[in-house]
């Protein structure tokens, strides 16, 4: 087997050296009746060529985003990632290194994490950021738990503009941890009265902007009301590129900012792995979940970096830890930080501007189709369209025409008649005028 360096001769010699007769002597602690005799009922080993063929055959059944006009967003976005990024993250020294618990020989990882934390803090206009979470949705759940720890209260209020699957993640964990959740109804236009839900029991308010439906939300009044009740504002985003152009939650009073970083540096990957961004105020740093990288010096006085404040973490603190999290999203955060170090604020703003311009352009096109209404007045690169019939059926009809048109709200919130015809449509810099024109033309056909 190509991955196993021991030869049969090696194995025999080594068993002799160990002083046992057979390999099974080393497995003697496994109860006899539970031992597998013979092989598992699975295919035998396959050559590289065979594996490639079988997996390629599977992959080729899927329609890749780059191969069609593509407007699917709703929490994951198709952007162009410079080839340098994927090249660099495949460097052996990044790809096949472990968590940097031995800082003397992992300064490469540690220094980029420190750069990453700084980038995320600046993007969100917060004081500190951690070294990443699994993704935006789990990061949101962790933010809620953190707010409970900080406020010593246990009721979270979730906006109706929060990504429905993010909401489900928070709800599920809260229910099983005996915390309370108030979830507002779906709010496509950003008109809900969330302020009314905030009271002294409230630990935190969770608001997404741009919302799941694309609507931009004014966070300042929510922050004010929350703070008045000693609750925290948790601001969520799913499209990090928006921060190149939009006012960050940090300057609007958010206490924790959490979001999905996939758009920068990372591919779609059918939903994962992604990279959760997590930032907060300095005063809450010891209540943060996840790994933190900090600056220090070595025995020669040289600057260096280490994982720090690990007394918050499970491997030290066990059942008193701030989170059970162990892994971060290391390699995805590396991709993020490389891509962003190329973009800089200048490039990020340009990229964001193109995304917005394309959305504005598409909105015009779609608004011109009979029976179609765009629900959002302030948006970044994504908005919600009300169709004259089931969005799901329209999306399927467009897919059959080779256009992936967006996400029907009913895919995530099925069974609600008022949402049945809503379609969330996203634009990024990869969309061309031809793509948009093709979408508009095809939609006309489908609705005709």
């Amino acid at each position: 087997m190509r991955y196993l360096p021991l030869s049969n001769q090696d194995r025999a010699d080594m068993l002799t050296r160990i002083g046992v007769d057979s390999i099974d002597d080393l497995f003697a602690d496994i109860p006899q009746k539970a031992r597998l005799n013979g092989l598992m009922d699975l295919p035998r080993r396959a050559s590289e060529m065979q594996v490639e063929r079988q997996l390629s055959a599977m992959a080729s059944k899927n329609v890749s985003a780059s191969s069609v006009p593509f407007f699917v967003g709703a929490g994951a976005y198709k952007h162009h990632v410079p080839s340098t990024v994927d090249h660099l993250i495949q460097r052996s020294e990044f790809l096949t290194s472990y968590t940097p618990y031995q800082p003397e020989i992992t300064q490469g990882t540690l220094q980029y994490l420190f750069e990453f934390q700084t980038q995320v803090a600046r993007l969100t206009a917060m004081d500190v950021a951690n070294a990443s979470m699994y993704d935006g949705s789990t990061g949101t759940a962790e933010a809620v738990l953190m707010a409970h720890r900080v406020t010593k209260k246990k009721k979270a209020v979730l906006s109706g503009g929060l990504h429905p699957q993010y909401r489900e993640v928070v709800e599920g964990l809260s229910e099983l941890s005996s915390h309370d959740v108030v979830s507002m109804p779906a709010d496509p236009m950003g008109t809900e009265d969330i302020l009314a839900q905030i009271d002294d029991e409230t630990s935190c308010v969770v608001v997404q902007s741009p919302s799941f439906y694309g609507q931009l939300i004014d966070l300042k009044p929510i922050a004010e009301k929350a703070h008045a009740h000693k609750a925290l504002l948790i601001a969520v985003f799913t499209e990090v590129v928006s921060l190149g152009l939009m006012e960050p939650a940090g300057t609007q009073g958010a206490d924790i900012v959490v979001g999905e970083g996939q758009s920068i540096g990372n591919g779609l990957n059918f939903g994962g792995p992604y990279v959760g961004l997590f930032a907060t105020r300095q005063k809450y740093v010891r209540q943060m979940p996840g790994r933190l990288c900090g600056e220090t010096t070595d025995a020669d006085g040289k600057r260096g970096f280490v994982l720090t404040l690990s007394t918050r973490e499970q491997h030290i603190r066990r059942d008193k830890a701030t989170s059970n999290i162990c892994t971060n999203s290391g390699l995805c955060s590396l991709a993020f930080t490389i891509h962003l170090s190329l973009l800089g604020s200048k490039g990020l703003k340009q990229m964001a501007t193109i995304c917005h311009a394309n959305a504005v352009n598409l909105k015009k096109g779609l608004s011109g189709v009979a029976g179609v209404e765009v629900l959002n007045n302030a948006y970044f690169n994504e908005f919600t369209v009300k169709l004259p019939k089931s969005a799901d059926a329209v999306v399927e009809a467009l897919a059959a025409r080779g256009i992936l048109a967006g996400v029907p709200v009913s895919r995530l919130i099925p069974g609600q008649a008022d949402l049945e015809n809503l379609l969330v449509v996203a634009c990024t810099e990869v969309n061309t005028q031809e793509d948009r024109d093709a979408f508009v033309a095809a939609l006309k056909e489908v609705l005709a």
């Binding site: 031992r35 020294e93 420190f114 933190l292 690990s310 340009q350 917005h356």
Partner: protein
């Protein structure tokens, strides 16, 4: 030459990415434009390339040397898997594009689930957890949901002291009280009688046991079937931490041992790259009793229609009682592809061989060192990792930490230290099946030389180590006392020219 931070390059008004800017247009941002200046450096591509290449060269990696981290399973990461994960049909598909356009993706997840269930002897698996600890959480949530569904509300989870920190942390997260189980003095495994006493003591109030098997001392819990029986008899569930599953793949199936839930670290057992700290992936296999509570999304086998993805409560049929959702979307697809590619490459024969070689290699290291280093539980065979304690360093003036750091100067990453907590100054070595005999011989010879040197009183070699690494020993206390977590522009007086 020291590599600066990207912020020290100073390129705050340039970019290393070219864009074709659109013509002027009217924005519809509703007045939410950013007003403060965002200061992020934009490096030209050659600068960025060199920066990250240089940084990388300060890292140790499996590809550059043996990585004997016990319990972490640092083994070879085949590049075939990287290539497969990057096929556009896997890497460039959106989690919410129409299901009719991603049948191959569903097929892949279903295939991987099939391999996992077959290997573990179970009939359900929750695929979506993002990492091992997330898998633990998933398994324990399923257990809690099952208790709730049965109208029970037990408050206690049993966790041995040798457990990974994630185990008690997970239990605590769900509001459980963690109660220790005593280990046998002679080998650190669970004392079955003590366990039964503890269960009896908390009768009716035990929700689950969380047990790693093989355990973190590198030993197989030989009473595992009886432990499972005792737990089940108490109406509790057996959560198995699957971090060490790589020792027994093809040799025994957790389902046959009485396990109710076990996460599988795809990055440990099936070699998806550790990536400097993730991403991981932690599918959880579930017993029939827990299967109904598996979270959304899951794949339902639908006879002639093939696998169907169930994403929302509105799609549920009888008996499906998901406790909720662990994450947005479908989990770590990129890791699934790599893991399946790894499994297909090995096959049933190769996977079994890999387990055997991993155990063989660990024992080979054990016998190579046992006369000089101290085995806390005597010279008995171990599984895929061998545990030493620090009694051999007694009176040498060399600490476990010093010893580990001195390994760095010899070109090795240290082993896992001070874990598990059940022995003093633990040193846990897992060579994995990826190492050749020659590689192990060199490693053993190097450690023997270090031990002799320590016993010989050459303390300088240890106390000041490492000497030859990109950094000397780093001051972790200083880092924690007043944490510096982001770069700040130096005040003008201090600024470099």
């Amino acid at each position: 030459m020291e590599e600066p931070l990207i912020f020290e390059f100073g390129h705050f008004d340039t970019t290393g990415v070219d864009f074709d800017m659109p013509e002027a247009f009217e924005t519809e941002l509703g007045g939410f434009e950013r007003e403060d200046a965002l200061e992020l450096p934009g490096l030209a591509e050659p600068e960025a390339m060199r920066h990250y290449v240089r940084l990388s060269r300060n890292n140790y990696a499996i590809d550059s040397g043996l990585y004997p981290l016990g319990s972490c399973t640092m083994k070879h990461n085949p590049r075939l898997n990287e290539k497969m994960a990057r096929l556009p049909g896997f890497g460039d598909i959106h989690p919410l594009q129409p299901l009719s356009t991603v049948p191959g993706a569903i097929e892949l997840i279903d295939q991987l689930a099939h391999w996992l269930m077959t290997m573990t002897g179970t009939s359900a698996v929750a695929m979506s957890p993002k990492a091992g600890a997330h898998g633990e959480l998933c398994g324990m949530m399923a257990i809690k949901a099952a208790h709730t569904a049965a109208g029970r509300d037990p408050k206690i989870v049993l966790v041995p002291e040798s457990a990974h920190g994630t185990n008690p942390a997970t239990a605590a997260l769900l509001g459980y009280k963690v109660v220790n189980i005593d280990a046998r003095d002679d080998d650190g495994t669970v004392d079955l009688d003590a366990l039964k006493r503890t269960i009896a003591e908390h009768e009716g109030n035990v929700a689950a046991i969380m047990l790693t098997n093989p355990n973190t001392c590198g030993l197989f819990e030989r009473d595992i079937v009886e432990i499972a029986a005792a737990i089940h008899k108490a109406d509790a569930y057996f959560y198995c931490d699957g971090a060490n599953f790589n020792a027994i793949v093809g040799k025994a199936r957790p389902g046959d041992l009485g396990v109710d839930a076990m996460h599988i670290n795809l990055h440990k057992t099936f070699s998806t790259p550790h990536g400097g700290g993730g991403p991981g992936s932690g599918p959880v296999i579930l017993s029939d009793r827990l299967a109904p509570f598996a979270p959304l999304p899951f794949i339902r086998k639908d006879g002639e229609n093939g696998p169907v993805l169930v994403e929302a409560e509105a799609q549920l049929t009888d008996g499906e009682k998901p406790f909720g959702r662990m994450t947005a979307f479908h989990g770590q697809m990129g890791m699934y592809v790599r893991a399946l590619s790894y499994m297909m490459s090995h096959g049933s024969d190769g996977l079994k061989q890999a387990s055997e070689d991993a155990v063989l290699n660990a024992n080979y290291v054990r016998v190579g060192l046992q006369d000089l280093m101290s085995l806390p539980f005597g010279e008995r065979p171990c599984m895929h990792e061998v545990l030493f304690d620090d009694s051999f360093l007694k009176d040498t003036g060399v600490t476990t930490l010093d010893f580990a750091k001195a390994m760095i100067d010899e070109g090795y990453h240290p082993m896992t230290m001070y874990f598990p907590l059940v022995v003093h100054g633990a040193m846990l070595i897992e060579p994995t099946e990826s190492e050749s005999r020659a590689s192990l011989d060199l490693f053993v010879a190097t450690l023997r030389d270090l031990v002799m040197s320590a016993k010989d009183g050459q303390t300088d070699r240890f106390s000041g180590a490492p000497y030859f690494s990109p950094r000397r020993r780093l001051d972790e206390t200083k880092a924690a006392r007043k944490p510096i977590l982001t770069w700040e522009k130096p005040a003008p007086a201090q600024a470099a020219e």
